[in-house]
Amino acid sequence: MIREPFVNEASPFQRLDPRLRILMATAFAFVTALSDRFSALVPGLVASIILIGFSGLQVRNVLKRLMLVNGFVLFLWLVVPMTFPGAPLFDLGPLTATREGVLVSARIAIKCNAILLSFIALVAVSPVATLGAALARMGIPEKIVFLLLMSYRYIFVMETEYQRLARSAAVRGFRPSTSIHTYRTFAYLIGMLFVRASARAERVYMAMLCRGFSGRFHCMQEFSFSRKDGIWAGCMTIALFGLGILEWMG
């Protein structure tokens, strides 16, 4: 479930305009994802680590988050070097790892971590509610923003509902195993969850109608772009250009 662990920690980035932070994190993600040379990727990773340093977040919590994603990266390391065509580097039993395969895996690992770190530092420090408002103010279509906010709002209700159903199965002695009975029970649980979600969606919509909803969403939060935002925007833009130059000129 969404716990927003980085919101409660005090970060100086929280005082920056969230629109700027979203924009910069996105731009950084694009530059990093499109870069291919290690001479650009490694400085990118360093830059994201510097951002984490500025963000004032607890390093332990950030590492915990990274572990999660690097689980997938590890899986890539197990598969890609052995399957990617190229010059053989070393043998592992019947399998041969290639130089190109190792390089591709390294690139993916660096990109993944750099992008994740920059988003943790810049974006994850804001509550989803603020991010939604910021996206709306950036000109993202209202319907997409509200889809995000509504999913965020009702994912908790769905979790509670699932737990209620699972508990009611558990108190009647249900223990998951590999059997038709287990599969059927889970199918019922999930089916019931869908039925309830759709019934709830209908009630939420009716409640919205009762309060005069006519298909248009309005955003309340206002943001202002301060001098401090300007300074940060300047620094980050220069850094991004630097990375671009390293990639395309280097």
Partner: protein
């Protein structure tokens, strides 16, 4: 009701879900200005359905609805009704969909065409009136059950309705929250219909109690008298109160 202006007037309303038996069968009801009415009935007797029909969420197959004396027919008429009458849903999670309390309370005023600034002021005033200062930035899904109920009341009251429909406002609330809701409803100087299973709660909030049976509404008596009555004859309490909760269990 003589001499009183009527807020809601229902005549010969019929309604049924799909091919099922009629839920509302030739139902007539009148809510006067300033009147506070309680509505009791079995599960599945059509209480919630009735509230939804009044709001125009469900369309009756027969009968007329008048709000403030005006016959309500078109979709546009119902948009007007929703400004006049506020409905507080039974489940606060259905009502509160915005991430923060302030945004949820401001949702109604924004729909009525207020500017974000006006909507914010109105929301803050309403929260203050309900003793919910400091709640504006709370995350709605993290509120307690009682807090959720109070905030959903705020989301409706901010639209300054002339009448309030409350669907089982005390279900699942503890004594504290119940007391708070009771005193709050007593302080409100507008008409209301309260659907509830709890005689005690109704006795503390409404003047008249109606019950729903066989798709119709019947007048049961003044709340005060019924309340005393119930306490003097526990057997009758059994018939009137408990059956409603346990008798029929098919719900709608």
């Amino acid at each position: 009701m003589d001499g009183l202006t009527s807020i809601i007037e229902l005549e010969h309303i019929c309604f049924g879900y799909d091919a099922g038996p009629p839920v509302l069968d030739d139902l007539s009801f009148l809510l006067g200005e300033g009147e506070k009415a309680g509505l009791i009935g079995y599960n599945g007797s059509g209480k919630t359905t009735l509230l939804h029909v009044i709001m125009g969420l469900l369309t009756p197959s027969r009968g007329t609805i008048r709000v403030l004396g005006k016959k309500i027919e078109t979709k546009k008429d119902f948009l007007e009704v929703r400004r006049t009458i506020g409905l507080v849903f039974q489940n606060a999670d259905d009502q509160l969909f915005s991430p923060t309390v302030l945004e949820d309370v401001a949702f109604g005023p924004l729909n009525l065409g207020k500017s974000p600034k006006e909507a914010r002021t109105m929301a803050m005033e309403t929260l203050e009136r309900l003793n919910l200062e400091g709640f504006e930035n709370r995350i709605t899904h993290r509120l307690s059950g009682g807090e959720k109920k109070l905030v959903s009341l705020a989301t409706v009251l901010v639209m300054q309705p002339k009448a309030l429909l409350l669907d089982e406002p005390t279900t699942g609330l503890d004594e504290d929250a119940r007391t708070r809701i009771t005193s709050l409803l007593n302080d409100l100087d507008i008409s209301m219909v309260i659907v509830s299973h709890e005689y005690d709660f109704l006795a503390g909030t409404v003047q008249r109690v109606y019950s729903m049976k066989d798709g119709r509404i019947q007048f049961d008596g003044e709340a005060e008298i019924l309340h005393v009555h119930v306490h003097r004859h526990p057997v009758i309490e059994h018939r009137h109160g408990r059956e409603g909760e346990q008798g029929k269990s098919h719900s709608r």
